[in-house]
């Protein structure tokens, strides 16, 4: 696939050397340790503060306390603490205030709040640093293990000139269809390539029917086959039996113009049913099975492409064809397709062709040849 070639693979070790990452991790660890010390210091303050508050609350309980008064550095002498409800509190910067026990407790509690907020901010900082450290550590480990970084450019599948609502309706489609791939097919890429090529085939043929080219009978027949399926599946989903009958009768007829008109009608109806169609992918499988016994003149062509998985891919092709034909009718049709080769050229220029499709016309032809 073209997508696989677009990616670039670089080893992580070439971007960041393991030693550098380890060094960075060590530095961050160091700063974490520093912050931890600071945190411990503040916690110590908090416990001191709480002890002080308790002490001060108890002091005025008695009229006086017998204490040992410190005298110099080494000596104490017995004394008595009086005026037990009078404190001189240091506010900071050399300012002292005379306060009662209650007031002092208030001051100390406010101080405790400040300390708590400091603890909180320190904790937040440490969490940040820890995240950083773990990131550096894991980067170092990954670089040492020889992990590679794969970069792939995101390819915009739908050109900007397409209408936005169409793009919106397309997005869930691609995701859901890829989901179907994942579930049903083991080798998704292979399947995807096949579907894309069929998709393009059908689309091309659709353009041909627009011009009523009688000489390309191959295109017409495939077209009819796919549209039959489309119509039938729609008929099932919409519960529209008349449509189904219409499509069955059309299966026998070779009138290209009539077919075109029904297709147009169907597409108009399909637009609002899009999401429903996607969601109901499992009942659709049953639908496709039921289409098998229906009269289809050139059905083996599609089956030859993938004998075993024809049912699945048919459903998908139907989904995608139906969808794309919607685009073709609501969007812009570039009318300069006559032969097969001319069609391919026109598709590259037409607005509905996506970057993916233009990137691989070769595979499309390969698939055509293979299916023939």
């Amino acid at each position: 696939m073209a997508q696989r070639e677009k990616g670039t693979v670089t080893s992580l070790a070439s971007l960041v050397s393991a030693e550098e990452a380890q060094k960075a991790a060590k530095r961050v660890e160091g700063s974490i340790a520093e912050h931890q010390k600071e945190l411990d210091r503040i916690r110590h303050f908090i416990s001191d503060n709480n002890n002080l508050i308790n002490h001060i609350q108890k002091l005025p309980d008695e009229l006086h306390h017998d204490i040992m008064v410190p005298f110099g550095k080494a000596a104490f002498f017995p004394g008595r603490l009086i005026h037990t409800n009078e404190f001189t509190v240091l506010l900071g910067e050399g300012y002292y205030v005379q306060r009662t026990s209650k007031q002092t407790v208030g001051i100390l509690q406010r101080r405790g709040e400040v300390l708590d907020s400091q603890v909180e901010s320190l904790k937040a900082m440490m969490l940040d640093l820890k995240a950083e450290a773990s990131f550096f550590g894991s980067t170092a480990a990954e670089a040492a293990e020889g992990l590679v970084e794969i970069r792939e450019e995101y390819v915009e599948e739908h050109p900007t000139e397409r209408m936005s609502n169409e793009a919106d309706s397309e997005k869930p489609d691609t995701s859901s269809s890829s989901k179907v791939h994942n579930v049903e097919v083991a080798s998704e890429d292979e399947e995807y390539a096949r579907i894309m090529s069929r998709f393009n085939e059908l689309e091309k043929e659709e353009l041909e029917t627009e011009h009523v080219d009688e000489d390309t009978d191959f295109g017409c027949s495939i077209n009819k086959h796919s549209f039959e399926q489309l119509k039938i599946s729609e008929g099932h989903l919409l519960g529209n039996s008349s449509l189904k009958q219409n499509s069955e009768s059309l299966g026998q007829s070779q009138q290209n113009s009539a077919e075109r008109s029904t297709v147009e009608i169907l597409n108009v109806q399909q637009v609002p049913e899009d999401n429903y169609l996607r969601r109901e992918s499992s009942p659709q499988k049953g639908t496709s099975n039921s289409t098998k016994p229906l009269p289809q003149p050139v059905k083996e062509k599609a089956q030859a492409a993938n004998a075993s998985k024809s049912e699945i891919s048919d459903v998908k092709a139907t989904i995608e064809t139906g969808f794309d034909s919607t685009k073709a009718f609501t969007g812009s049709i570039v009318e300069h397709a006559h032969g097969l080769l001319a069609n391919a050229a026109s598709e590259t220029t037409s607005s509905q062709s996506t970057g993916l499709r233009t990137s691989k016309p070769v595979s499309r032809f390969k698939m055509q040849r293979g299916s023939r």
């Binding site: 001189t88 240091l90 506010l91 900071g92 910067e93 050399g94 300012y95 002292y96 205030v97 005379q98 306060r99 208030g106 001051i107 406010r110 101080r111 400040v114």
Partner: protein, 130 residues
């Protein structure tokens, strides 16, 4: 021979510049320390102001001057603390500016050192094949 002399010259130049750079870095570190000190003081002063605002008008406020506590008027203490906060804020701003200047100088020095290193490498590379 002339290229060797030029090389020596360049190397001497580089050494001088590296010395200048390390001096600048030292200055910046010192500035940061001073800034930290002032920030702490500012926080303390703001705490004092908050407490003073909570006090009654007739509360006894003392200021520690040397070994003694001097009784101060409440209003006076308040004004003093406010002035001190203003001064510290101004000082912090000034320090910020000088740090910025120093960092700019440091960056330009680093760039010139890088250029010199490249020049020297170029000279050495030119000499090696010759």
């Amino acid at each position: 021979m002339s290229s060797a002399a030029a090389l020596r010259e360049l190397q001497r130049d580089l050494e001088n510049k590296a010395n200048d750079l390390s001096k600048l870095q030292k200055d910046i570190a010192k500035n940061h320390q001073v800034r930290k000190k002032y920030t702490i003081q500012l926080g303390e002063n703001e705490l004092v102001l908050k407490e003073l605002d909570l006090l009654n008008e007739d509360a006894n406020v003392f200021k520690l001057i040397g070994p003694v506590l001097v009784k101060q008027d409440m209003a006076e203490a308040n004004a003093n603390v406010r002035k001190r906060i203003e001064y510290i804020s101004a000082e912090l701003k000034r320090l910020d500016r000088t740090v910025q200047d120093l960092e700019e100088k440091q960056n330009s020095k680093k760039e010139s050192i890088y250029k010199l290193q490249q020049k020297i490498q170029g000279l050495q590379a030119g000499k090696a094949p010759a």
